[in-house]
Symmetry: C2
Subunit: 220 residues, 2 copies
């Protein structure tokens, strides 16, 4: 019991770490080794260390750093999931986060603990309410991507406009017109040429990079 004379719920942070693989959104999951929910697939997460973390943002960054070895390109708070979150486990609070990262970053860091699963074709044995958290995260990312530069966080430092368009198409699940897409991106003003060109096949494509100002537009 605390000064408020009510039992305190356990507070954790959990991250829906999303990336793009083969033109589809994937989420990072690992198989739990301990009870509760032993053997089930779970999002990276952990309890808050109040002596160490200045706030929940710091807590989730610490957890991700420890479990994956890097800091994601983009992170934002999703929302709280709370209560008896699986009818067996105690009352708890999860502060859920959305994190976006380019596949290349993951492969470079590559602590082999996590596997990636297509968000539109998830396995059945997910721990706690993590299926709900993933669904809410994906919904938010898809909504925001329609009128922002969010998907830039899924690409490496340098990318071509065709790669960028394919990324938007994969996230939004629509086909976009090339000319109109390029005009839109151009109007945002935060995707700028690096001066370099993609080698390899056919006409060399200009490389671009993302000026790290998140731009919100009306719609894509």
């Amino acid at each position: 019991m605390n000064v408020f004379e009510y039992p305190l719920p356990v507070t954790t942070v959990d991250a829906a770490l999303l990336t793009l693989r083969g033109e589809r959104l994937h989420v990072a999951l690992h198989r739990r080794e301990n009870i509760p929910e032993q053997g089930k697939l779970a999002l990276p997460g952990g309890v808050i260390h109040i002596d160490e973390d200045v706030d929940t943002d710091a807590a989730v960054l610490r957890v991700l750093q420890q479990k994956t070895g890097f800091i994601p390109r983009y992170i934002e708070q999703l929302r709280v999931f709370s209560g008896k979150r699986d009818n067996r486990w105690d009352w708890s609070v999860s502060v859920a986060y959305i994190a976006l990262v380019p596949l290349a970053d993951l492969e470079a860091a590559g602590k082999g603990v996590f596997h990636f699963y297509d968000v539109d074709d998830l396995p059945v044995d997910l721990a706690f309410d993590h299926r709900r958290i993933i669904a809410a995260a994906v919904e938010r990312v898809r909504n925001k991507s329609a009128y922002s530069t969010l998907p830039c966080a899924l690409l490496p430092e340098q990318f071509t406009l065709t790669q960028l368009q394919k990324t938007y198409e994969a996230v939004l699940q629509v086909k976009l017109d090339k000319a109109n897409f390029r005009r839109r991106i151009d109007a945002m003003g935060c995707v700028i040429p690096t001066g370099e060109f993609q080698s390899g096949m056919q006409r060399p494509a200009k490389f671009y990079r993302f000026e790290n100002v998140m731009v919100f537009n009306k719609a894509l």
Copy 2:
């Protein structure tokens, strides 16, 4: 200490209860009677009762019911504010909510504990980080109002289109064209005539009510 061997932060819920008064957004605050932050102005809030509340949504509704005597027209989770939230008080977690309510509902219930303050002209002596919470709540409401029917929650059951327009103008802090505004509202399809008319001055205005389906538009 708990099973996780880390001290648990206190978890509370706090609500930015917003209403419209004299064409301006106001927030409900009460003066704290107990330590900490005794004598300062604070949002309605309280600790979670894990034996009573099924989740934080239930907790905030219970707190609002107890403190104000009614359930708001609209409520949504804003986000978590956490850490040592005023440099004196312990590490804590606040799950912040946005609640919208018509002024008439407040006056009808009228437990006289709360006073209303213009969100763009707040007093200086706010408790904890409640100024930040209010700022975040107002920003979200203003953003959402530009492309949704959110402001309908600030009006009584029946209202005229002129009242609705004034509400949007107050929330968004812009002047809107009457004809274009009406076309937009009409296109949303969820603001429908009651058949009644406003008595009183000049040409009688049709009364409308809000079909309780939140509609999201591109922009207003």
